[in-house]
Symmetry: C3
Subunit: 148 residues, 3 copies
């Protein structure tokens, strides 16, 4: 958690520097609220010119990037303001990488139950717990007696 | 919204015409209820002969297409009849492209919260709103004062 | 249902035997509770060296495999013990294929509504029903009068 899938058109996000910059800005969304950096997995999935169809047609005006985001560690309360704040935070992280490059883009977030999530066979420590701070500090899944 | 992922076996859906016909029939599911065509994103993801496993084996009898569908703009009420109607509508759209070609296929729909969804940095207008009609007419994300 | 996406790094899970062993162990999770083997679809999606980013960096220490799991046919009750049991069962199935090979790995399960799921145009029979037993026995979607 979180998992990001970045469906991008061939010919864009080709260089390592662009991917690094994007994934670091994405990562900061989550480290800013105290999560370990290694939780943030971003998979780039290239779409060939015939692979992405929009409204039954191939997009020819601007490159289009479609972000699919899974939130697992922290789910939001059913609250318009919290939802809006999260969506704006994602917008802010993405802006230099899409809007400022003249791309079209879209994202949506899916939330799933953290009880059905494990890393290296471990139940990730509770959000905000002391054990989570250990995972942040070492930036890896450190074995611990579960149930803490 | 919606986002469709089409996991298809190598050697099928190769030509542009087949993809266009399928994605236009998919798009119609949503434009029929008043959504803008550009909301409908369909990504074709090719699976090589070793990439798709079914029940722990490789499928050899018929080609198999697996559709993964995300619904965001409009979520259904918790109602068997509405669910059934939607599933039938999808079946109807897919039939010429899978059943009639002798394929096996499967789909499922996941629904996510529209408050965690943005297009080009904009909150998409409410379903059925006047602003949504502008997006339909121009078939793009037209900036507007949010909160309308 | 279920659908597994296996995001794996190039150079791993290359041979058919490794994939067969993994997908058979995954399938057993579900056949053990009575589901038909053919419900279990596992898609392998290869990630090139520049495609998977973790915490804004490229992983260089160990190979990392990210499993994304959709559960549709059977959703769990909102119960910590049931959730934990399922997550442990998945761990157990994965262990020989990831932990024992020295990989890092992560999985999460998303649950979706079975009313928005069809196979070959058919509503899959209710969990535990007589008709489901027919699907198990023949290991395919056998047409039947729906509503049974």
């Amino acid at each position: 958690m979180p998992l990001w899938l970045v469906f991008y058109p061939e010919g864009h996000f080709q260089d390592t520097a662009a991917r690094k910059a994007l994934t670091q800005d994405i990562t900061k969304i989550y480290t800013d609220i105290g999560l370990p950096p290694f939780y943030v997995v971003v998979n780039f999935i290239q779409m060939g010119p015939q692979d992405m169809w929009i409204g039954g047609a191939q997009k020819t005006d601007k490159p289009f990037v479609r972000f699919v985001i899974e939130h697992i560690a922290v789910n939001l309360p059913d609250d318009d303001i919290a939802m809006d704040r999260t969506a704006r935070r994602i917008d802010q992280a993405l802006k230099p990488h899409v809007a400022d490059k003249g791309y079209d883009w879209e994202f949506h977030v899916d939330e799933t139950d953290r009880r059905l999530w494990k890393v290296n066979g471990l139940v990730p420590p509770k959000f905000g717990s002391e054990q989570e701070k250990v995972w942040v500090k070492e930036n890896r899944a450190v074995p611990y007696p579960e149930g803490l």
